[in-house]
Amino acid sequence: MKELTELKLKVLDLLNEDARRSPLLLSTLIGVDEEAVKEAIAELEADHVIVKYAAVVNWSKIEEETVTALIEVQITPERGRGFEGIAERIYLYPQVKSVYLMSGAYDLLVEVEGRNLREVANFVSEKLSPIDSVLSTKTNFILKKYKQDGIIFEDREEDNRLMVSP
């Protein structure tokens, strides 16, 4: 069982670098059978370890209008359910891109995307704040994304090696 886990980790690392890599390429890179890789991927998908194969998009390149805010939300946990129920009520909105339960001064960090400032502000005042157990919100707009999920959007480091060297 341990070996399969190690293989799965390697598969995940390589797919995380580039999700379009084929099982054949992965099997060559890792040095195992293609079948073993296919099996590992199937299991990872079935277990929802691999949730989705999505492109990392730098939206600012094409849609200047989009704004994203990170909203710090303080809430009163519900009896018996803790934060789960409220988190769900928030993350089901399609404009909510991510929701994290945090330690520290606030409870939930909510990433909200909108076409403009007003849209995000409206979401906060009309949808988020009115939720009973929400005590307070603090909205921080993102001005520029430099790096997301380990990927630098505008990597300035070029390959400046000589074409041929000893």
Partner: protein
């Protein structure tokens, strides 16, 4: 200023005549020619690069920048910062089971290259024969010649995975033999030597009273086994001058940070040359190297794993397109045979570059025994490697149809 063509010609001739014959007679590097060819062309994928494709990890660069901000800009002791020598000593002990006293057995050098130069200058007397297994890194033979020594090649073969054998070594030994230069894992073949491979070599070294310069710059890039330092073979510690550095393991080629470890008497002699020529290795590089040893092992392991993945990819790729290739066990080079095409290494590499836009170095750049082979560095991205293999496959197909 107007210069008459004739005068110009004359001047060039006469200036050359001032050069030391030893230096004048060194042939130009076979790599240089391909560099010039490749550098002018567009859309080339290069497998000709002898250095990592990673940038130095940020924590190492940051440590250097911080030290500059604090004003760490003075000379260090000739042998290098004692903290760095201590860290090197500890690292070599932990990783390769060799023990060197940081006080008098280690010098921090300007790359492994300076270390090799120091070792040869300290040991070679005119007429001494220096044994060099080939194909090998390009600088051993010229530096030997500059020092007045006589380079003597020892052939290694694809059938042995380019390992050095005791028989081949013994066959070249004469009463003038003094030094054996080893470079495993090997640039350009990717060959490595195991403990069992080393034992018969050590016997020959002992029997003929040789000194060994062991260039272990690729030690960390050993894939299926762990690297065995020649100095760790019983009885070889005092006979071995261990050369290594930070370039390959920590992606620090441009920093020029290397080191050399040996018996205190040999180190003392090398230190004399080092102090009169470079004084000390650059302090910024030393600070960076110390950071790499202290906090860089995780990144290093990640990079080694990545080379290993691409090693499998290129070897499989060569097999798929019909190029014979032994499995390289170290460094980041594959050394496939192109003999089946009927072309010489140089002709093949030249046509590959011009017609398929893939740059690689002909085996002959690493000695005459490299004829029939091509050095391909796989320190480039998976996407580039895949594309290069595609292009090479198409090129080989075209060659076949021609004949």
């Amino acid at each position: 200023m107007i210069v008459n063509e004739d005068t110009k010609q004359q001047q060039v001739k006469s200036m050359n005549s001032y050069l030391a014959p030893l230096v004048r007679d060194i042939p130009p590097s076979g790599i240089r020619k391909f560099f010039d060819l490749a550098n002018g062309s567009k859309d080339i994928i290069t497998l000709g690069v002898g250095e990592p494709d990673f940038t130095t990890p940020w924590h190492v660069r940051e440590a250097c920048v911080y030290s500059l901000e604090r004003g760490v800009t003075a000379y260090t002791s000739n042998a290098g910062m004692i903290e760095l020598r201590e860290a090197i000593s500890q690292y070599l002990h932990d990783s390769f089971e060799v023990g060197y006293d940081p006080q008098n057995q280690i010098i921090v050098t300007v790359g492994g290259s300076e270390a090799i130069d120091l070792a040869l200058r300290a040991l070679v007397a005119p007429g001494d024969e220096i044994l060099i297994p080939e194909p090998c890194y390009v600088s051993y033979s010229p530096i030997t010649s500059i020092g007045g020594g006589v380079p003597v090649g020892i052939e290694t073969y694809a059938k042995d995975d380019f390992k050095l054998t005791a028989e081949a070594l013994e066959a070249q030994i004469t009463p003038k033999s003094k030094i054996l230069i080893l470079c495993y894992p090997s640039n350009p073949t990717g060959a490595t030597m195991t403990y069992e491979d080393w034992l018969p070599i050590a016997k020959v070294v002992e029997k003929h009273d040789l000194i060994v310069i062991s260039d272990e710059i690729y030690a960390e890039l050993t894939y299926n086994d762990t690297h065995v330092s020649f100095a760790s073979i019983p009885g070889m510690m005092d006979r071995t001058i261990l050369v290594s550095g930070f370039s390959k393991a920590f992606a620090m080629t441009g920093w020029r940070m290397g080191y050399v470890c040996a018996h205190p008497d040999i180190i003392a002699a090398m230190l004399k040359i080092h102090q009169y020529t470079v004084m000390c290795a650059p302090v910024m590089g030393q600070v960076a190297a110390l950071e790499a040893l202290k906090n860089g092992m995780e990144e290093k392991n990640r990079m080694v794993e990545s080379y290993n993945q691409r090693r499998r990819l290129i070897v499989q790729g060569f097999h798929d397109i019909g190029l014979e290739c032994h499995e390289p066990q170290g460094a980041f080079y594959a050394f496939p045979s192109i003999a089946s095409t009927g072309l010489s290494s140089e002709a093949f590499a030249q046509r590959l570059l011009l017609e398929a836009k893939v740059a690689a170095v002909p085996g002959t750049a690493f000695g005459a025994t490299g004829e029939g082979f091509l050095r391909c560095s796989y320190a480039t991205s998976v996407a580039q490697l895949t594309e290069a293999l595609d292009r090479m496959g198409t090129f080989l197909h075209k060659l076949k149809q021609e004949s």
